[in-house]
Symmetry: C2
Subunit: 364 residues, 2 copies
């Protein structure tokens, strides 16, 4: 059977290995496995969320309120925007899918950083669009601007903080960049890890209300998967001018998050204390990684997220080290598929991080 031609070029996303797989493949007991590969919150999620979801388990048979008004209202309040400025996705991934399908098509150009979130490219290929990448490892908005003028992309992705490298742009730099971009180019500001960035450096924080009021061509993305600790519940969102949201809504399948996810995300937003606790622990433990890297003379990218990226030396091999760690029940992310000789390690609990340090030292 023949399928659309552009499918030939699509590689599927390589997810962080789940604990179940390591149990199956290496016969290690689940309790002996530490997963620091998918940037999940090591504190889990808010106990209030667990309580609330536990109380509505009999509602699993009922479709969610497809207007998602409870969650949209909570997000509007959080960002001081209107609910018509908000769209909910099954992870912010799905909002990325909507906007690429809405704006791009075969032959469109989509501009993104040399190294960045893999799903931008995968969704671009779904519609047969061409991916244009900068050359610098960190986001260099001057280079973005040069490529923008030269290539006239339909969409520009800015990932701040960036995944899988962890660096982040000052908000002011993004504001200045946006001033120079024409109104018909959609600029995506993917801020999945922003909650971690702002506790480390307030200059990274984007004023979302101002952003969308000033610019009719920008969409801000956030997620409940990281600081809110709901990676397994698949809820993210986009915030933009109402006109853009209305177009994206045309591509939203009904009931695109579960009944339990809707409740979980809504309640999660009411427990900012949990987020503060999570980001504080993260910052404290990140310092241990920074010290460890210094001691071991490993390059570490200054991170504004809940992970650190350790760039290995030429006498070390990230694939080999990740594999050795895996065989010892420690799951981290090898970044060789991003053409980096580096591993990405989610910042875990005090104990998990200690175990990582102790183990990795054997293989460095």
């Amino acid at each position: 059977m023949k399928f659309n031609k552009h499918l030939q070029n699509i590689k599927t996303y390589e997810a962080g290995k789940p604990i179940e797989l390591v149990v199956r493949e290496y016969g290690i007991e689940p309790q002996d496995i530490v997963k620091l590969a998918s940037n999940e919150n090591p504190l889990g999620c808010s106990p209030k969320v667990i309580d609330a979801v536990g109380k509505i388990l009999t509602k699993m048979s009922l479709y969610p309120d497809d207007s998602m008004i409870s969650l949209k209202n909570a997000l509007s309040k959080r960002y001081n925007v209107d609910s018509e400025n908000v769209i909910i996705g099954s992870g912010s991934d799905q909002v990325i899918e909507f906007l690429i399908h809405a704006k791009a098509h075969s032959g469109s150009k989509i501009l993104m950083n040399s190294i960045t979130f893999a799903m931008y490219e995968i969704y671009s290929k779904h519609v047969g669009a061409d991916v244009i990448r900068t050359s610098s490892q960190e986001h260099d908005l001057d280079e973005f601007y040069e490529l923008y003028k030269q290539e006239k992309p339909e969409i520009i992705f800015i990932c701040t903080p960036n995944n899988p490298t962890g660096d982040a742009l000052d908000a002011q730099k993004i504001y200045n960049f946006l001033e120079k971009i024409d109104n018909d180019t959609l600029v995506v500001v993917d801020a999945a890890y922003m909650e971690y960035a702002i506790v480390k450096d307030a200059k990274k924080e984007i004023n979302v209300k101002e952003l969308i009021q000033k610019h009719s061509n920008v969409i801000y993305l956030g997620t409940f998967s990281k600081a809110y600790g709901l990676g397994g519940m698949r809820v993210g969102y986009g915030i933009s001018e109402a006109k853009i949201i209305k177009e994206l809504y045309k591509l939203r399948p009904p009931f695109n998050i579960t009944t339990l996810s809707l409740e979980a995300a809504t309640v999660a937003l009411s427990d900012e204390e949990f987020v503060q606790k999570s980001t504080a622990l993260n910052l404290e433990q990140m310092k241990r990684y920074e010290e460890f890297a210094k001691e071991q003379k490993i390059d570490i990218i200054n991170s504004y997220t809940n992970f650190v990226t350790l760039s290995l030396g030429s006498n070390q091999n990230s694939t080999k080290i990740a594999s050795q760690l895996l065989q010892n029940g420690m799951i981290v992310r090898d970044l060789s598929s991003y053409n980096m000789n580096a591993i990405r390690v989610t910042i875990g609990t005090q104990e998990q991080n200690s175990r990582f340090f102790k183990l990795v030292i054997k293989f460095l």
Copy 2:
């Protein structure tokens, strides 16, 4: 901002009104509202599922096993196929989305019944494909064949039992039809309500293993939203030849169902007793609707699902009656958007159905 042209023609799906909306709009207390609009299971879901999900609430922070091997193995066993023949979607909706995006494109033709599941058309429009419809209300496979020869569609949708009408085809008729279709036309057999059909008439049951062994161009769709009582958890599946599944996988976003949904669906498959109880209650209560329709001289379409479609007389108006019911806390589906003067009523519990009969009689 300009968006892709074909978005102009997309209407968004109109979901059954959730109870929350009726509470907000009409000020009726939740306990006084009966929703017979979205074909949800009135028994809820299996108690085993509630137990199992309740035990893993702390895993909401963890991404699901993206291989979904537990669920794929359980489905393979259920249908006696290999796990490489199975793809999981966020509802069978999402599998429909995958296959349209994989096979169709701007200008493709997609053939479907005059009245059928609304998402086929909506997803077709997402890629700018043209929808070809039969003229007969029930699936007439002779007419499908004539249109197939004439229009050479990329995809043919057969919905059996059909939604929102409830009628179903004998499996043999589908087998005969498939013999005449060339290998490059993808035939979708959407069997979301099949669990209800087979208890009413065994001739409706499709042998999925044989179907996909004999035909390399067919995909069978099933869901956990109906008889398994997990509408709110968004899990469906497609079963097809491995080559087709592999192509569809290229369009599957990672983690497309939640961690709790994966557990819920896997456990649901192990409790066939619950499904039997659900379909038995449904069949028993359906008889009451059939008797009621006979007494009231209302046309009822012979249903093989968990809903009945009541075709109203020319002196009655489905929109008016649905609205009157709604104001009294009874949510049903007005089918006027399908150009039918009919209402679709989910078969509820004994008590819910009694309440429907008592109430609707006032407005007929």
